[in-house]
């Protein structure tokens, strides 16, 4: 019945509809578990405030993790790669033209040798 929705990839297949059905079932189970939890808690007391070992909560803007701090480890580990790659993007128009024509010359050579 679901054959019509199955993507044939030559060697394999992929059926999004079945996937969605499974996903929905998993979601319903998760929802059921969530509904079993405690529904009532005192909302206007200390219970809703973050507990930071008794310290005062810092300003909202200070606790937000900014983008520049994300993947610091990744770029640090790949430093050897990035320190070579990023400077290539010089922003100088002459370099852009040079890369374009350089690739063209390279492909000329490859095609010429192959032929």
């Amino acid at each position: 019945m679901l054959d019509a929705y199955t993507l044939q990839t030559g060697t394999g297949f992929w059926d999004p509809v079945v996937w969605i059905v499974v996903f929905l079932v998993a979601f319903l189970i998760a929802l059921a578990i969530w509904l079993l939890g405690e529904k009532e808690y005192p909302r206007d007391t200390q219970a809703v405030k973050p507990f930071l070992s008794g310290n005062v909560e810092p300003e909202k803007a200070d606790v937000h993790m900014r983008a520049g701090n994300l993947y610091w480890g990744f770029t640090e580990a790949m430093k050897g790669y990035y320190s070579r790659l990023v400077p290539l993007h010089t922003g100088v128009l002459n370099d852009y033209v040079l890369w374009f024509l350089g690739v063209m010359a390279l492909v000329f050579v490859i095609v010429g040798v192959a032929a």
């Binding site: 990023v86 100088v92 002459n94 033209v97 024509l101």
Partner: protein, 114 residues
């Protein structure tokens, strides 16, 4: 040799234009290089259309002889028009850049990089 001369000149013009675009840092001069490339391509087009002894394809009181197929001439005219539009656009870009950055040096016009 003589009949190949236009092709050689066309190739030379294109190469000169490309070299200009590569070594000149002034944006205006780079656009001049681009115009040289364009001139070279136009010359190549026109020389491809040349037929020794051919006459212009105007049928009104045409003399006897082989008429030239005017396709490449039409292409050249189209490319000249496109070239004018492009050059005007590019030069106006450089004008704005010079006004805003205070320079038209390609090595200094690089706020976008990385």
């Amino acid at each position: 040799m003589f009949f190949n001369l236009p092709f050689i000149v066309a190739a030379l013009l294109v190469i000169l234009g490309i070299i200009t675009m590569l070594i000149k840092r002034n944006l205006i001069k780079m656009i001049m290089g681009l115009a040289l490339v364009e001139a070279g391509v136009n010359l190549l087009l026109v020389s491809i259309g040349y037929r020794a002894g051919g006459i212009a394809p105007i049928f009104t009181s045409a003399p006897d002889g082989v008429m030239v197929m005017p396709t490449v001439q039409a292409m050249t005219l189209t490319n000249i028009v496109i070239g004018i539009a492009t050059t005007a656009l590019l030069l106006s870009f450089v004008m704005v850049i010079y006004r805003m950055y205070g320079t038209a040096n390609a090595e200094k016009v690089r706020k976008l990089r990385g």
